[in-house]
């Protein structure tokens, strides 16, 4: 047999192997894709109920006697009036047949407690309503809301039989309306699912990430530049290098403990603050940024450095005018990967108190705040059924946040990318 025949004989086997390998690869991709699809469908389908909210139409009498205020009360005097009472009267007016005390309170429980505050704000803003009647829409309580959203009505265990009958009657009388749940995006956390929103966590995440970005990007990039371009090659620098690589592998909760010990206990920074969260996440993100930046800097062809040096640029000019701009796409990608990690981080933030229940939307870097993943953790832990949907909605928002960040990374990379 000559060579050609030998090679020919082996060919089918080689092609088969190649085909098989491709098949494996495609299968792996498919499996991954299917899991992603399942995950997304599950999250999206579970989160859908969280995006709507049922409202009840009521004819409210702003009766000064029931409210317990003078007939010409204004401003401050209206602040502590008994709005609960006029609400109760309004809903009872729809169900004149309900007479037992217990039933009456069960009936009132169908209305969200937020309705009182809405009525209060309305009256303070429009004091002329006092003594008059007005048709208002108020939020349904989460149990009622869940009942309307559940297809399987028999399973709505949180409502009593009587309440279910009332709920059906409200719907028959067209007093119920489903609206887009803007509360989810405009409000902070709440114990009541129908009043809970992710705005607080979203803003907290933004502040925290901003601190992380502002600290870790300049620090990380300068460290990488120094180590790669200026540091002498000696044992100390090797030691620093090894330690940076090790830091990248440290469990994140350790950074949380460090943050607690150093920033809060030693420096006395406030607990639960985005500032401290950002500092802790900076510690965590730095190694990622440094390692990514160093490899990006290393990848800049030496010919560019030579060109600049050969024409009389100083070392610093070479680095800042040529090497860094060319390394920028890689550095930005690394930074955004680091920030995306930081965005999804929960453990270290638990240690510094960002797991607290916080209703107010943080207004600055030292206000108490929580972040999206912690909010997800908190909601997933809540017993109310309506929080299941809220949890999925929050996960969805977190995912969108991540996709936006990655999109930004791709955009920046494209923008800074130049060929050589």
């Amino acid at each position: 047999m000559n060579n050609t025949e030998l090679i020919k004989k082996g060919l089918p086997k080689r092609y088969r192997r190649e085909k098989r390998f491709r098949l494996y690869g495609m299968m792996a991709v498919m499996v991954g894709f299917i899991f992603l699809l399942i995950l997304l469908t599950d999250i999206i389908s579970k989160s859908l109920p969280a995006f709507s909210q049922h409202w009840i139409q009521l004819e409210v009498q702003f009766d000064p006697d029931v409210l317990g205020v003078a007939a010409d009360a204004e401003g401050k005097a209206l602040r502590h009036a008994n709005y609960r009472a006029i609400l109760k009267r309004a809903i009872r007016a729809e169900f004149p047949d309900v007479s037992k005390r217990r039933d009456k309170s069960k009936l009132a429980a169908l209305i969200s407690s937020s309705a009182e505050y809405e009525l209060r704000d309305m009256l303070i803003e429009q004091p002329y309503l006092l003594g008059k009647a007005k048709t208002v829409w108020v939020r349904a309580d989460d149990d009622l809301d869940t009942y309307y959203k559940t297809a399987d009505k028999a399973n709505a265990v949180r409502l009593t039989e009587k309440q279910i009958a009332w709920a059906d009657r409200l719907q028959e009388n067209n007093l119920i309306e489903s609206r887009f749940n803007s509360t989810l995006f405009s409000d902070g956390d709440s114990r009541e699912p129908e009043q809970a929103g992710i705005r607080g966590a979203l803003v907290g995440s933004l502040y925290t990430l901003l601190v992380t970005l502002l600290l870790s990007f300049p620090l990380g990039v300068s460290t990488a530049v120094y180590l790669e371009e200026f540091a002498p090659k000696n044992r100390w620098v090797d030691l620093i290098e090894v330690n940076i690589n090790n830091l990248a592998a440290v469990p994140s909760i350790v950074f949380g403990l460090l943050g607690l010990a150093v920033f809060i206990n030693y420096f006395g920074l406030p607990r639960s603050a985005p500032l401290v969260g950002g500092l802790v996440l900076t510690l965590m993100t730095l190694p990622t940024i440094i390692i990514a930046s160093r490899s990006a800097i290393k990848a800049v062809p030496p010919s560019i450095r030579q060109a600049a040096l050969g024409i009389g640029a100083s070392k610093t000019q070479t680095v800042f005018q040529h090497v860094l701009p060319l390394a920028m796409p890689g550095i930005l990608t690394g930074t955004i990967i680091g920030l995306a990690q930081a965005l999804g981080e929960t453990a270290p933030l638990l240690m510094i108190g960002m797991v607290a229940f916080i209703v107010d939307i943080p207004q600055g870097f030292v206000d108490s705040a929580t972040v999206l993943p912690v909010q997800i953790y908190l909601w997933a832990d809540s017993p109310e059924r309506a929080f299941v949907a809220k949890t999925s909605a929050a996960i969805l928002v977190l995912l969108i946040f991540l996709v936006v960040m990655n999109g930004l990374a791709v955009f920046l990379r494209k923008k800074f990318e130049r060929s050589w």
């Binding site: 060109a307 040096l309 024409i311």
Partner: protein, 296 residues
């Protein structure tokens, strides 16, 4: 005839190995002796740069052995020799590009207009503005053609306004013989040019800072014959105003562009002389073998 050739080649190979192992073989020892002293006249009548007893080490490994060589005013000196014989290393000593290699150590004395370039008083940045370099692989910055050429002038503050800068860019491109080809696209990226154009752009970038000496490390080795011919012509023209040292692997190129040729072998300057003489009547056996293509 063929047999003697083969003999000679084996001897040469031995001489390559003999660097570290001292053999008592007399023939080889002879050869070593011969290599140690440079044959020919390394000094120029009107020197621009002078290198004296230069030794270069990479860590413990010596790459250049006791080389003395002048670059005369308005002349082109060609450095030839087999790969790894230290041509680039020697060239990089002349503008202190070796400073950027941490393990590299240079001994000896090199002057530019009788000024010691390794003295503390000599700033490497200033030196590199006076002694420019063109590299083997065209390495334009990923910027526009204009910005590439203007870079050095901007860096050193050579132009005081836009008009002066334009002037510098245009004359440099003209001197590099590139202007006519790119005048309509000065603001397009320099990396979009062909290899030969890129190399001429790099030459334009180098001459834009008006250096006194230009060092070229195999400037045409990555180019096709037509682009090479253009570059060679250019070098010949540049000689009017600059002192040029060029490393090349092409005998023909050395013969065409240079006035003097230096032959390096294993870090030593074996022979130097008028280009004509080197190519027609080499004195050293190693030189002869190399230029007749029997070695390297």
């Amino acid at each position: 005839m063929v047999e003697t050739d083969i003999n000679m080649r084996t001897e040469l190979m031995e001489s390559t190995q003999v660097q570290s192992v001292d053999r008592s073989d007399t023939k080889v020892a002879d050869m070593k002796q011969q290599v140690n002293a440079t044959i020919g006249e390394p000094f120029a009548k009107d020197p621009k740069m002078q290198a004296r007893q230069v030794n270069v080490y990479y860590g413990n490994k010596q790459a250049i052995f006791n080389v003395s060589l002048d670059l005369g005013k308005n002349e082109v000196v060609a450095l030839i020799g087999p790969s790894g014989c230290g041509k680039s290393t020697f060239l990089r000593c002349m503008n202190r590009m070796n400073d950027t290699i941490p393990i590299c150590r240079v001994e000896g004395n090199i002057t530019l207009d009788s000024e010691d370039i390794y003295a503390d008083a000599m700033d490497p940045v200033l030196l590199r503005a006076r002694v420019g370099m063109v590299f083997q692989k065209p390495n334009p910055f990923p910027k526009s053609i204009y910005d590439n050429v203007a870079y050095g002038a901007r860096l050193h503050g050579l132009a005081f306004n836009k008009a002066e800068l334009d002037e510098i860019v245009i004359t440099s491109l003209q001197k590099a013989g590139l202007f006519d080809e790119v005048k309509d696209r000065l603001h397009e990226p320099g990396t979009g040019l062909s290899g030969g154009q890129q190399q001429r752009l790099c030459i334009a970038r180098t001459i834009a800072v008006s250096p006194e000496v230009i060092l070229m490390d195999e400037p045409a080795s990555a180019l096709d014959p037509i682009a090479t011919a253009i570059i060679e012509e250019l070098i010949d023209e540049l000689r009017q105003n600059y002192t040029i040292a060029i490393v090349t692997h092409s005998m023909q190129q050395a013969a065409r562009v240079s006035q003097r040729t230096a032959y390096f072998h294993l870090g030593k300057l074996v022979e130097i002389g008028e280009t004509n003489q080197i190519f027609t009547n080499p004195k050293h056996e190693l030189t002869e073998n190399y230029i007749t293509g029997r070695f390297g």
